[in-house]
């Protein structure tokens, strides 16, 4: 075997070194939520699974963990849906098409939707919590031969704060039971008004054979889990997406620790369990 010159070596991606991506499209979802479509400046996207996240860098501002909001098998660029809540997300929400971002990832666990062919799946999403679930829902709705039903129950603050309205309509058209509720509405709104947990009793899923995927503000997830368990869904069949202060993305730095878990590595998607219930009830961390 002959020796290779340095020029012949393929560069090895280091998990802490961002790759450069170009913003190829930008869609404003609501007054503070924007979806960016990005493509690598060289090579192709690494494979990812629904529920995983990337660390996005706005150069000169900082880095932040953002879930991938597109589906792996969908043609076209990878998408991230970002809410403007701080300096980095503010910068990301304002980047223009053609701008260059840094991307590390994908990191973390996924929703495991490829194991759910026979189960009824109830997806409960609050606000921007629909973004990390979008790829999972598309997978479940589009997969030929799936036997279980798909229920999508989404909550938003008001009709003008609804994200992915076109996707909700498409999933409904393609066979999913989709309900959208808002906290408050103008009189022309004909859909449900109230908290997202209020949609659960009317959804006709079979609790013992149902898997629930839940993502949203943590308070909403706590109440949703309680309602699901009260309806008869097995706690181990509930999967939640948790977020803490993700920084390295690979379980080295410890910033995202939740008890024994490092959420960037052991999460963000975690099966609900008694230990997790205790951790989600911790008042101060």
């Amino acid at each position: 075997m002959g020796a290779m010159s340095l020029a012949e070596l393929e560069p090895v991606a280091h998990p802490l070194v961002p790759a450069t991506y170009r913003v190829v499209a930008r869609r404003v979802e609501t007054d503070d939520i924007t979806t960016l479509s990005i493509e690598p400046t060289s090579g192709s996207d690494p494979p990812f699974r629904p529920g995983q996240f990337n660390m996005l860098t706005a150069f000169g501002v900082g880095e932040v963990a953002i879930s991938i909001s597109s589906a792996p098998d969908t043609p076209g660029p990878m998408e991230h849906t970002i809410r403007d809540v701080g300096a980095v997300t503010h910068a990301l929400c304002r980047v223009q098409v053609g701008s260059i971002l840094g991307v590390r990832g994908p990191f973390g666990t996924d929703w495991g939707v490829d194991e759910l062919d026979d189960a009824d799946v109830v997806v409960v999403a609050g606000g921007i919590g629909l973004a990390p679930l979008r790829g999972a829902i598309s997978y479940l709705v589009d997969k030929p031969g799936r036997r279980g039903r798909v229920y999508v129950l989404a909550g938003a603050r008001s009709p003008d704060q609804v994200t992915f309205a076109e996707d909700l309509e498409r999933w409904r058209r393609d066979g999913a039971d989709v309900e959208l509720t808002v906290d408050v509405a103008p009189p022309e709104w004909r859909g449900p008004v109230g908290v997202v947990t209020g949609l659960l009793p009317a959804a006709s899923f079979d609790p013992p054979r149902t898997v629930a995927l839940v993502c949203g503000p943590e308070i909403m997830m706590r109440f949703t889990i309680r309602s699901l368990v009260d309806l008869g869904v097995r706690p181990g069949s509930i999967r939640v997406s948790l977020e803490r202060n993700m920084q390295c993305g690979v379980g080295w730095c410890g910033h995202c620790q939740l008890g024994p878990l490092l959420l960037c590595r052991d999460g963000p998607v975690i099966a609900y369990s008694e230990p997790l219930a205790r951790l989600m009830s911790v008042r101060e961390l």
Partner: protein
Amino acid sequence: MTETIGELVAEHPLFSGLPADVAELVGGCSKNVAIAAGQLVLEEGEPARTLYLLRRGHVALEVHQPGRAPLVVERIGPGQAVGWSWMFPPYRWHFDVRALEPIGAIAVDAECLRTKADADPAFGYLLLQRLCAVMLDRLQATRLRLLDVYGRDVAR
């Protein structure tokens, strides 16, 4: 076969599982009503005289505001009940309720119900248990909404 009003009451989730004589007591205060879409079912400030057990169609709980469109704060549908203000003085509605579509409901006369509950405390207790369970659910849901969990401060 035509069902009696007592049987219809017994089938409604608010009263399901109660002894038949209890449902008959409620049925004795009840009648079937049909309400056209768009009609105001309850009007804020007006005397509260009826408990509605919805069987078909949805209604919107609205708060009106001068010079602007009303805000819908809750949508209530089949299997649910609407109207609590008849339980306590001053027996006046606190919100508007509008039919979003043609409504089929059991309208229970509130004064009749209160009279029977006063005369038969065991019946009154059963009635309160059922009504309070629903009121508790609505209260908890309202508290959750008060938190504005999708708002900027608490959103992920």
